[in-house]
């Protein structure tokens, strides 16, 4: 053991025992961030803030929520909303944060695509990010079910039923997942466990992993420029702050992120207090009834695009399921579907730029039609948009990026 001296302060005391100074250096003061990034890069920090809010509001909800099919609905809609002081705040905050969280995740993700931040050494950042997306989806889905309203119930019924399409074991698998022939108390309690313990713990672990994957390739920047971080850091440490292309994460970079996060929080609390209803579906204020499906069921807005891919193939359930499966994992493969080595913002890659905006437009169409009833001409629009989605990712992207690579003599 190292020799312990009399400490000259709390920091020194900690430093002798847990090496807090080197730790701070590695994590904060000597973790280098490029200067030329814009507010869109603050979405990561915004997500950390949101996740924290979700955990805190979730803990307060957890104290009054009852995971029992007979009590769940009232524990949310009566106890928490009417009896608990500020119970409404936790509930609305939880619902609004969950909804907004997906908005920010999508922005975070599409900023990454726009600037090519998923390629050339940054693949692991992308993969862990997409893993987080899947985990957040599972977290959102398992949480959506807990209030035990009609939408909760039927969302759970439909999603668990998806597994019945798996050959041979499908139907038994569904019963196994539900713990009953139908979505029931056993289903509620196991999803409760997933939502409040298992998934959050895994999410936290993967978030740590996601941060760690940034360590070696570093954060990308607005020009896709390759920066020699060691050299630039030397400049900075030598006091050449103007010339250096990087700044430390703390305190310089975070001060800007705090600004963005504060601005964002103001909007978030405005929504929570005055416009919370967008995050709560009116049908979910009817208690779950396992013998009556609501006339038109749809998921929350953030799942609509993949839901529309699922039902876009209206003439065949199997094709729809396959397409849905592909849509849910295809983004993970993005670093390999993009065959070009160029790391540059989309506006410097003409064909990619077109592809990018067509993709966004298509996903918006899918999202809108995902909410409309699947009848008449809607079914065909959904079908075309679903085909286009698969085409863009599986065919168009590899082709145009291959051409780009050729042009660059790669």
């Amino acid at each position: 053991m190292a020799e312990i001296r009399k400490a000259d302060g709390i920091v020194d005391w900690l430093d002798q025992r847990i090496a807090i100074r080197p730790l701070m250096k590695v994590l904060m003061t000597e973790y280098w961030i490029p200067k030329n990034i814009n507010f869109l890069w603050a979405m990561g920090v915004v997500l950390v803030v949101l996740f924290t809010l979700l955990v805190v509001s979730g803990l307060f909800l957890l104290m009054y929520y009852k995971p029992d099919t007979k009590l769940a609905f009232d524990s949310v809609n009566y106890t928490i909303m009417q009896e608990v002081e500020y119970g409404w705040l936790w509930r609305h905050l939880h619902a609004v944060s969950a909804s907004v969280c997906f908005l920010i995740i999508y922005i975070h993700m599409f900023v990454g695509i726009y600037y090519g931040s998923y390629k050339k050494g940054r693949e692991m950042i992308w993969i862990t990010g997409m893993l987080l997306f899947v985990l957040f989806s599972a977290e959102a889905f398992s949480g959506y079910m807990l209030p035990w309203g009609q939408m909760s119930y039927w969302a759970a019924a439909v999603i668990t039923n998806l597994f019945s399409a798996i050959p041979v074991i499908g139907p038994d698998l569904v019963i196994w997942i539900r713990g009953n022939f139908i979505v029931s108390d056993a289903t509620l309690t196991r999803f409760f466990m997933l939502h409040v313990v298992l998934l959050p713990v895994i999410i936290i672990a993967v978030i740590v992993m996601h941060f760690y994957t940034l360590r070696i390739p570093h954060v990308n920047n607005a020009y896709g420029e390759e920066i020699d971080f060691e050299k630039e850091a030397e400049k900075f440490k030598a006091g050449n702050k103007k010339e250096s292309k990087v700044i430390p994460f703390w305190p310089m970079f975070l001060s800007k992120d705090f600004f963005v996060a504060s601005f964002f929080l103001a909007i978030l609390f405005y929504l929570t207090c005055y416009h919370y209803s967008f995050a709560l579906d009116p049908i979910n204020f009817d208690p779950a009834d396992h013998l009556k499906t609501p006339p038109h069921i749809y998921p929350e807005w953030y799942f609509l695009w993949s839901y529309e891919v699922l039902r876009g193939f209206f003439f065949s359930a199997d094709l729809g399921l396959i397409a849905f499966g592909i849509a849910n994992v295809i983004f993970v493969l993005l670093p390999w579907l993009d065959r070009s080595n160029v790391v540059a913002p989309a506006h410097k890659r003409p064909a990619f730029m077109v592809w990018y905006w067509v993709l966004i437009a298509d996903m918006i169409v899918l999202t809108i039609w995902g909410k409309l009833p699947p009848t008449g001409v809607n079914a065909y629009i959904g079908f075309v948009a679903s085909i286009l989605f698969l085409f863009l990712l599986l065919v168009a992207l590899p082709v145009i990026t291959k051409l780009e690579a050729k042009k660059n003599g790669q």
């Binding site: 019963i175 196994w176 713990g179 022939f181 056993a186 013998l291 499906t293 069921i297 729809g320």
Partner: protein, 168 residues
């Protein structure tokens, strides 16, 4: 000596591997079984329906293992489905689990059109329970049943049920 040490380590390694494999296997079995439906759920009772009071063309819904089951007493005009109709006495009944075979919503029955309509993705079924339009890939499932005089017992596989299933 050197060689012996290696083999001793190999032995330790193999022991560790073996114990770990048994442990992991046993835990997985335990985890899988804990997640299984409880015995009380599996043995959930049978549902007996008395058909004698049903009118021609009447539609009725009963609950079987938490699922809705429809029973329609067919009128003379309604088309027969040799492969699906349940004959009790001298009347034809259409019986099935009223759950859409697409993704599990409950289609609603309209007595006017004698059709089932699934609101979730627009699937349609005829009065026999056969899928006629939309994503549902198969007809609605016929639950196991036994005919007991004028009564229908759901949950038990009677000879009439086995005959229907073997034909289908």
């Amino acid at each position: 000596m050197g060689e012996k040490e290696v083999s001793r380590r190999d032995f330790l390694g193999m022991t560790l591997g073996g114990v770990a494999a048994v442990g992991v296997g046993a835990s997985l079995v335990a985890m899988k079984s804990s997640w299984d439906p409880l015995p009380s759920v599996v043995s959930a009772g049978f549902t007996t329906v008395d058909l004698s009071s049903m009118q021609d063309g009447e539609y009725r819904q009963v609950e079987y293992r938490g699922n809705p089951v429809y029973i329609i007493k067919k009128t003379a005009e309604m088309k027969k489905c040799e492969d699906r109709d349940v004959v009790v006495g001298n009347a034809d009944y259409s019986v099935g689990i009223q759950i859409c075979t697409h993704l599990g919503c409950i289609p609603s029955y309209s007595a006017d059109t004698t059709e089932f309509h699934c609101a979730c993705h627009g699937g349609k079924f005829d009065a026999c329970g056969k899928n006629t339009f939309g994503p549902p890939p198969t007809p609605m499932t016929i639950p196991p049943f036994k005919i007991d005089g004028q009564k229908l017992v759901l949950g038990e596989e009677g000879p009439e049920y086995l005959k229907l299933v073997n034909k289908a």
